[in-house]
Structure formats: structure tokens, C-alpha cells
């Protein structure tokens, strides 16, 4: 192994090992052994991830991106001299800086392969990662080149993967430990299920078996270096969620919820598959990142060749063409039009072109030029027709958009986004640790993570879709959460809402903030769910908040840790949610400031943030502060095994996003770490990208690429704010977010603590709103009317058709067969057997008759012989006479 990536492979396989152990012998081991095995598996994975993370920190290149670019310029300057002698260098404008750089590297210029090394280093620094893979399914004979269609198993650990691993294993470990306490009822030989009114066996090992598989699936998803491996894990995650949501499968509601989760996810996965198929067909690869190898040509030169093409490099323009001339459009989708001129088929670059160039292996390893002054592409490919231009592969642009939307649809299903958000609240039927795991580290995180991972595949239209879906989800889910009374359902809708925030952040170009919020959210959402689990455990499986109240006195640890989680999710300064949520709101405002027609993308989440603050404090007040009626008497604090994870998570929820200066909202160390994995294309993408605005605003700043601008772009309608007040998006959005959240908290205090308003009265004053929110914006009714009931009707029709027509047909055929058989039997018995018997009888009769001739008397025999001889003689004579 050339790098410590294998640590992550071990970390992935440990939960799988514990799953297999539990699968094989879980039922035989007494007591908590099964649970301890699972805890050991995930704990080992956490240790591996932690070691890997520390090694990664040590191995990561230290200098920033600004240095990289200076170096990149130097490298490019050496190119004309080093690359090939055939290309005239005089055609390019020589910049003074570049000349100087070229002069400082005469040794490299003299040697032909100097460039290759320099380039390799440069590339590594741009996206530092540990990679490795092995062939899994090789489809030979499909591609024109060897190994063209090859499904691989591999790992790709960049800073995003490393931090995701750390987060997932850490939170999953804590939830495992918590579950040891929470699931202790299952240790009894028989458990009485009060909801399903049945007595059943305890299922302690079974729970941890599913948990282990869940963790393995999620880790494998983060580990994967290609989309197919992601898809396999993706489906495994789906299966595990099905098994865990339906853990209490005696309850009808639990099985329904499990089915709902699974089926809703199928809708999204159909889109995912379509996206995969389009990419596989058009690009011939699903691997994320290109691997190269150095090949010595016949003339002795060492050339870097593409070994395994990555899907991003297949769609985004390369840095330079085969003559090492830089391509201006590096990192963008190159949209072209097919034109014909002088019988030559050419690709004309056009921002509204209906095709996108695919940079396949043959092109990159072959011979192609960047666009000429007219914006035309040419490629000369020996194994194609050798003509002009049409050697380069293209795919229709709508297909690229469709692939992006398809993959995003998969993420919509997994991350419970509008319009597939309906399954997540129902998934509360599972045990609370499952909800915590699903809502923080695994299932729903997978969708957001994948959007971040395949970000370079998304065309601007897709990104806009993502942003709108996120904004709508964030708002709708927040409004529904206001009226929920089930403590877990409030948290479920808050998860949906927060996931909407993440998607919005990703969609408007705040790649870092979307994923940053995913990480911080994982901590406080795990905390909140485990806290609610502790409450539910303490109240003997009571989930209705209306029946709680005043629990603060009885469950002090739970109450305080949950308060930390509530503050974090509201975006209170210095709590982890502040940094990430602020980033998302800023990104949305920056985007909206450049595109005023998309102002809703800023307003919806802003209002959503206010509502979030309101309903989260409502949850805390209703549950923990004393009330006159319905006080739960028998509540008790949970055991240490449950409160310790709560305390750890509470501490993490505060400090996890801190940087060297915690009061600087832009100074989060976690954010800067995630930033290292930011896709290259984000920096150069035109269209609706946020960072374009940033680059325009601060062309010279080293932080321009790292951090959202502190000023509004010059062509933004909010630019006067910068001119007059010196305000940037950060100031305005941060202030607005705090004000709105503060208003939400104040309102919550007013209603549920100071009792200025009576919630009952408010409800009666706005019956339409209450009705709308209580019925979840009628999504369930809509789907029931649009999809479920028609499906059932079709199902009943099919059943009737099956029973009446098909069964009738089959029964008729059966009757017919019986009739034919009966007739056939008669024929067989009468005719066939009769003939056979007749033959026998005839032969017997003849034999019996001829028996008389055999007298045993020699004299008779002699007589017979004589007569026969005479007879034969007579016949022969007659015949001969007749014959003439």
C-alpha cells in the first residue's frame, strides 16, 4: 500500500464483519454480547478513521490555493519549450512573468519529460486524495480500448471523505452506545408490545445486526470512488432503513412506514438509475477521478496517458490540449454546435449549443486542439476517422441535464426533499436510536453527500433545480413542524427542513456550506434525537409532548443537553450551527443579489430559519418547562450509558465548528478543511455560480476562492450597500438571520413561557393555516389521491381480471384437457388396445391350429415333405412357364 487509505477500507469492513458475526450467531449469544460486538465494530472503525484523519492532516499540502496558481502559471510557461518542438511558440502572447518563470527552469526545459513531473505535482496539490481500486466487473469487448468498461471497487479519500468518515463513525459509535441502554428492554426473553398488543421475543442482537450493516453501507458509500459502488451502498442503506424502521414489525404502522420509506426511495432511485445509465452510455465510465500513467513512447519520450478516465474529467474541459496549449474553458462544460463547412464536420463552440463535448480516453490520449480563434474544435484521432472535428465525442445537452436531474432525484428520495419528503416523518416508527442514525449520520446524509460528491456533473439548470427544491423543502417542513405534537415528529420535520438548507446551499454554489452544514447538523441532530430518546425512555415510551411538561426538574442532563442542541440548530452565535447556517444564508443572498429574479431562494430559507428557532424552542418549552396540567409524574433520568453520549454530543455540537477565533463566523477550521475538496469546476463555472460573483468582486484576493465575498459584486443591485455602508453579504445576511431567529425565539418565549398568547386561540384564529400544516400541506392526501388510490384501483382491476378472465381461462383449459383426456382414454382402451389384443389372438389361433400338423410321426413328415416338394415344383414350373 502506497498510502494509508487502507485504514479507511478496514474502517468500512469492520462493521461488515460485526454484521456477519451477528448474522451468523447473534441469537446464540446471551445478554449484551451482540450489542458489544457491534459497538466494537463501529468503535474500531472510528479509531481507524481517527488515525486516518490525523495522517491525512499530516499528509495534506500546507500551502493555499493562491500559491498553487502561481505555480501552475510557472508550469504552463515551461510548456511550449518542453512539450514539443513542432508547435510554434511565437503564436502565444508572452507574458513577462511567464518568461521569467521559464528562464528559472532551464533544466526542465532542456529535458523533454520535465513538464510531466511538474504537472503531476501540480495536479496532486489541486485535489489531494488517497486513491486505490481493484477491478470488480470487467466488461471486456464493449469498449474499443482495453478496460474501457470496467466496474471497479475502490476508495477515494479526500478531505471531504476523511471528515465524513470521522463524523459518521463518531456519531454512529455514540448512537450504538446509547442504543445499548435504550434497547435494553429487548434483552428480556419476552417483550410485551403495548401498541401491537402482542407478546414477542426480545430482538436485541437483531437490532445491532441491522445497525452494523447500516454503518457498513454508509461508510462504503463515503468510501466509494465510483458511482456504481455508491449505488450499491445506496441501495444497501435503503434496505437497512427498511429493516430498522420496521423493527417493531408487529405494529401495522411500523410496517407501513417501512414500506413507505422503501417505496418512496424507489421513486428517487429510478431517477438515479436513469442518470447512471446516461453517464455510463455516454462517457463509458462511472469512476470519479482520472488516473494517469506515464508511458514511454517509441521515440523514447515519456508521455502521461490516461489510464482510467474519471467522469468529471470526461465532461469538464481539460487544462490544456495535446500540444500543451492551455484551454481557456478549463473546468467548464464545453457546449458546441455541430456545423458543416467545406464538407468538414466541425464543432462550433456556443454558449447555447445543444451538445456538450465529451473528453473521452481516446481524445485525451490522442491528438486534439483547443478551440481556435473562431471557437472551433478539432481532433485528429488515429482510431477514429482521422478527419476534422468529428473525432470528438459529444452528447446532447438535455441528456446531461437529465442525468443531473436523475441523480439529484435519487438524492431527493434519500434526503427526503420536496416532493419526496413524506417518508421521513413516518420513519419515526423505528426505535429512537434508528431515527438518530438515519437523521444525522447515515441515510439522509447520503443524499446531500452525493450531491456534493458529484457536483461537477450538474449543469447550471440542475443546480437551480437543487436550490429551489432545497428552499421549498426548508420552508414547507419548517411550517409543518410548528403544529406537530409528537416530539420525534417535530425533530423529523426539522431534519427535512435542515436538509433543505443544505441542498439550497449546494444549489446556489455554496458547496462548502452545504456540506459544512451536513457535518455540524449531524452532531446536533444526533444530540436532539438521542435527547428525545432519553425523554421517551424516561417517560415509558410516551412521545406526545402534550403529555409532558416540567421534565427539566426530573431529567436535568437531558434537558440541558437538549437545550444545547436547540440553540445549535437555531444558529445561536458560537454554537456550531451558527457557522454553517450563516454560510448557507450568505450564499443564498450572494446568489440572489446577482439574480434578483431568484430572490425567493433567499427569503424562503430566511423565514424558514425564523420558524426553526420558534418550533425548536416550542419543543423545549413544552417538554421541559413546568405547566399546570398533564405533568408527567413517573419520569426519571436515563442511565449513564445514555446520558454520557448526550454530554459528548452536546460538547461537540458547540465546539465542532470552532476555528482559531471562535467569534469569527468565517473562521471555522472545519469549513476550511472541507474546502480542500471543493470541486475545481466550482471556481470557473460560469452561469449561476456564486463564486463567479466572488471572483468579480475581489479579483486579487487570495481568499476570493475560499470565502464568500465581503462585498457585493459590482453588477448586483445590492452593490450600493457596499458603497455606502461597506457591507457585504456576510454582514447583511448574518444580521438578518440573527434577527429572524431572534424573533422566532422571542415568539416562542411569548407563547410557551410567558404565555402572552394562547396557542389554542391562535390556532382557532387561523384555521386554514393550522389545517394546512397539520395535514402536512396535504402531500399525503395528494399522493394518496394521485398515486396510491389509482394504484389500488388498478390493482383491484387486475385482481378481478386475474380471477375472472385469466383464472377462468385456465379453469376452462383444465376442463377441456380433462374432456380430451377422457376421450383419449376411451380411444386408447378400445381401439389401440383392441387392435393389439386382436393381433395377439389371431397369432394364438393360427399357432393353435398349426399345432395339429406337428404329429411327431416320421411318416407324416415324409409325406408332408413329398407333398411340399411336389407343390413347390408345381408352383416353380408354373411361374417359369408364365415367365416364358
Amino acid at each position: 500500500m502506497s498510502n494509508p487509505g487502507f485504514l479507511y477500507v478496514i474502517a468500512t469492513l469492520l462493521p461488515l464483519a460485526s454484521f456477519l458475526l451477528l448474522f451468523a450467531g447473534g441469537k446464540r449469544w446471551p445478554g449484551r454480547v451482540g450489542g458489544l460486538i457491534a459497538v466494537g465494530g463501529i468503535g474500531g472503525a472510528f479509531v481507524c478513521s481517527l488515525i486516518g484523519f490525523l495522517l491525512f492532516l499530516g499528509a495534506m499540502p500546507k500551502h493555499g490555493h493562491h500559491d498553487d496558481h502561481a505555480k501552475g502559471a510557472a508550469v504552463q510557461a515551461t510548456t511550449p519549450a518542453a512539450g514539443s518542438g513542432t508547435q510554434p511558440t511565437a503564436t502565444k502572447p508572452a507574458e513577462p512573468g511567464k518568461e521569467e518563470a521559464a528562464a528559472t527552469k532551464p533544466a526542465e526545459a532542456a529535458h523533454g519529460h520535465g513538464h510531466a513531473h511538474a504537472h503531476a505535482d501540480d495536479h496532486d496539490h489541486d485535489s489531494f486524495a488517497w486513491k486505490g481500486s481493484l477491478s470488480w466487473v470487467a466488461l471486456t469487448g464493449f469498449g474499443s480500448d482495453d478496460g474501457g468498461l470496467d466496474i471497479r471497487l475502490g476508495y477515494y479519500i479526500d478531505s471531504l471523505g476523511a471528515i465524513m468518515f470521522l463524523m459518521v463513525t463518531f456519531i454512529a459509535s455514540l448512537i450504538h452506545i446509547f442504543a445499548l441502554g435504550y434497547m435494553s428492554e429487548e434483552l428480556q426473553p419476552t417483550v410485551e408490545d403495548h401498541q401491537a398488543h402482542v407478546t414477542r421475543k426480545g430482538r436485541f442482537p437483531r437490532f445491532f445486526m441491522w445497525f452494523s450493516l447500516f454503518c457498513f453501507s454508509m461508510l462504503n458509500l463515503v468510501l466509494a470512488d465510483n458511482l456504481f459502488q455508491v449505488f450499491v451502498s445506496w441501495e444497501l442503506v435503503g434496505v437497512c432503513s427498511f429493516g430498522l424502521i420496521g423493527f417493531y414489525y408487529e405494529r401495522q404502522s411500523a410496517t407501513n412506514a417501512a414500506n413507505k420509506a422503501f417505496i418512496t426511495n424507489r421513486v428517487g432511485d429510478a431517477g438515479f438509475i436513469i442518470g447512471l445509465l446516461i453517464l455510463w452510455t455516454q462517457c463509458g465510465t462511472l469512476t470519479f477521478h482520472t488516473t494517469t500513467e506515464t508511458v514511454t513512447t517509441r521515440s523514447g519520450r515519456q508521455v502521461e496517458k490516461v489510464k482510467q478516465l474519471g467522469i468529471f474529467d470526461a465532461l469538464r474541459a481539460p487544462e490544456h490540449d495535446t500540444h500543451k496549449d492551455p484551454i481557456k474553458e478549463h473546468g467548464q462544460f464545453v457546449r458546441v454546435r455541430h456545423i458543416t463547412e467545406d464538407d468538414d464536420h466541425l464543432l462550433q463552440m456556443n454558449p447555447a449549443g445543444d451538445h456538450v463535448v465529451i473528453w473521452d480516453k481516446a481524445t485525451l490520449n490522442g491528438h486534439f486542439h483547443g478551440p481556435d480563434e473562431k471557437g472551433r474544435f478539432e481532433a485528429y484521432l488515429s482510431d477514429r476517422d482521422g478527419g476534422h472535428g468529428h473525432g470528438m465525442k459529444t452528447m446532447p445537452y438535455w441528456m446531461l441535464v437529465l442525468a443531473g436531474v436523475g441523480i439529484f432525484l435519487g438524492c431527493v428520495g434519500k434526503s427526503a426533499q420536496f416532493p419526496l419528503q413524506v417518508w421521513l416523518p413516518d420513519a419515526m416508527e423505528g426505535p429512537t436510536p434508528v431515527s438518530a442514525l438515519v437523521h444525522s449520520a447515515t441515510m439522509v446524509a447520503a443524499g446531500v453527500y452525493l450531491v456534493g460528491r458529484v457536483y461537477p456533473l450538474f449543469a447550471p439548470e440542475v443546480l437551480l433545480t437543487i436550490a429551489y427544491v432545497g428552499a421549498i423543502t426548508a420552508f414547507i417542513a419548517a411550517t409543518i413542524a410548528i403544529v406537530q405534537t409528537d416530539i420525534k415528529k417535530v425533530l423529523a420535520y426539522s431534519t427535512v427542513s435542515q436538509l433543505g438548507f443544505m441542498m439550497l446551499g449546494l444549489g446556489v454554489g455554496g458547496w462548502v456550506y452545504g456540506l459544512f452544514h451536513l457535518l455540524t447538523h449531524a452532531f446536533f441532530k444526533a444530540l436532539l434525537f438521542l435527547g428525545s430518546g432519553s425523554v421517551i425512555h424516561g417517560c415509558h415510551h410516551e412521545q406526545e409532548m402534550t403529555k409532558m411538561g416540567g421534565l427539566h426538574a426530573k431529567m436535568r442532563t437531558t434537558s440541558l443537553t437538549m437545550l444545547v442542541g436547540v440553540l445549535a440548530i437555531c444558529g445561536t452565535p458560537l454554537f456550531s450551527g451558527w457557522y454553517s447556517k450563516d454560510g448557507i444564508i450568505v450564499a443564498a443572498l450572494s446568489f440572489a443579489s446577482l439574480n434578483p429574479e431568484h430572490m425567493a431562494l433567499f427569503l424562503l430559507p430566511l423565514i424558514g430559519a425564523g420558524i426553526t428557532a420558534f418550533y425548536m424552542f416550542r419543543l423545549w418549552f413544552v417538554t421541559f418547562t413546568p405547566r399546570d396540567e398533564h405533568v408527567y409524574e413517573h419520569a426519571h433520568e436515563s442511565p449513564r450509558v445514555m446520558t454520557v453520549p448526550l454530554i459528548i454530543l452536546a460538547v461537540c455540537s458547540v465546539v465542532v465548528a470552532w476555528g482559531p477565533r471562535p467569534w469569527d463566523v468565517q473562521g471555522s477550521a472545519l469549513e476550511h478543511f472541507v474546502h480542500h475538496s471543493q470541486p475545481e469546476s466550482l471556481k470557473v463555472d460560469t452561469g449561476i455560480n456564486l463564486n463567479t460573483a466572488v471572483l468579480q468582486a475581489e479579483p486579487d484576493s487570495a481568499r476570493a476562492e475560499n470565502v464568500i465575498a465581503n462585498t457585493f459584486a459590482r453588477d448586483s443591485w445590492l452593490h450600493p450597500l457596499t458603497v455606502k455602508l461597506g457591507w457585504g453579504p456576510h454582514d447583511l445576511a448574518g444580521l438578518l438571520a440573527l434577527v429572524v431567529a431572534g424573533l422566532g425565539v422571542l415568539l416562542s418565549f411569548a407563547v410557551y413561557y410567558w404565555r402572552v398568547f394562547d396557542p389554542q386561540e391562535t390556532r382557532e384564529r387561523f384555521p386554514w393555516a393550522y389545517d394546512l400544516f397539520q395535514n402536512k400541506w396535504h402531500f399525503d392526501a395528494l399522493y394518496s389521491a394521485l398515486l396510491v388510490r389509482p394504484t389500488l384501483v388498478v390493482g383491484y382491476w387486475c385482481k378481478a381480471f386475474d380471477q375472472k378472465v385469466i383464472d377462468g381461462l385456465i379453469h376452462g383449459l383444465a376442463h377441456l384437457t380433462v374432456l380430451v383426456s377422457r376421450f383419449d382414454g376411451k380411444v386408447d382402451n378400445g381401439l389401440v388396445d383392441g387392435l393389439v389384443n386382436l393381433t395377439g389372438r389371431v397369432v394364438f389361433g393360427v399357432g393353435d391350429w398349426l399345432k395339429g400338423a406337428q404329429t411327431g410321426l416320421i411318416r407324416n413328415y415324409v409325406l408332408f415333405m413329398a407333398v411340399a416338394a411336389v407343390g413347390i415344383f408345381a408352383v416353380v414350373s408354373y411361374v417359369l412357364a408364365m415367365a416364358g
Partner: protein, 103 residues
């Protein structure tokens, strides 16, 4: 009147029929054997007559006659042995008593 082939053939035919009738009518096994001899000798007469009157069969006819004589001697030896055994079993040489081979 010239003695020709026809006369020999007639003689052979008469002898043959005589032997055949003897075989068919005699109940005495010895008599049956005698009938067989007559039939064989009728054949011999035919062979010799053809050897005499047809040059093509000059040698073959005589050789066949000799074969038949030798064969008849062998046959007589075997047949007499059978008859003796038959006599030992049945105390008779009546061929009608030998009906164990009846179907």
C-alpha cells in the same frame, strides 16, 4: 429301342417314388432306412445318367455319386445306432412309437 437319358431318369424317378412311399408307409425303422437308401440310389442314378449323357458333368456326376455312397454308409451307421438306442428304450423298432417330438 435305344436306351437314352430319359429311361434312366424314369428309372430314377420310379426308384425315388418307391423309396419315398417306403419311407412314408413302413412302420418298421429298418424299412424306413431302406426307403432312404432307395431315394439316395435314385439320386445316384440321376447323377450317373447326367454324367454319361452330358459332358459338362462327366466327372462331377461320378464324384457326387461317390460322395452320396459314402454319405449313405455314414448315415446308415448313425441311423442304425439311433435305431439300436431306440430299441433299447422302447423294445420296438416301430417309428410310430417315437412321438415324443410331437407339438
Amino acid at each position: 429301342m435305344n436306351i437314352g437319358l430319359t429311361h434312366y431318369l424314369i428309372l430314377g424317378a420310379v426308384l425315388f417314388v418307391t423309396g419315398l412311399v417306403c419311407m412314408a408307409s413302413k412302420r418298421n425303422a429298418i424299412g424306413v432306412l431302406m426307403g432312404v437308401e432307395l431315394v439316395l440310389n435314385a439320386a445316384n442314378i440321376n447323377f450317373l445318367a447326367f454324367a454319361r449323357y452330358n459332358q459338362t458333368f462327366a466327372i462331377e456326376g461320378m464324384v457326387f455319386t461317390l460322395f452320396v455312397i459314402v454319405m449313405a454308409a455314414a448315415e446308415a451307421a448313425i441311423a442304425l445306432a439311433i435305431v439300436l438306442n431306440f430299441y433299447n428304450n422302447h423294445v420296438s423298432v416301430d417309428v410310430d412309437a417315437a412321438e415324443e417330438l410331437r407339438g
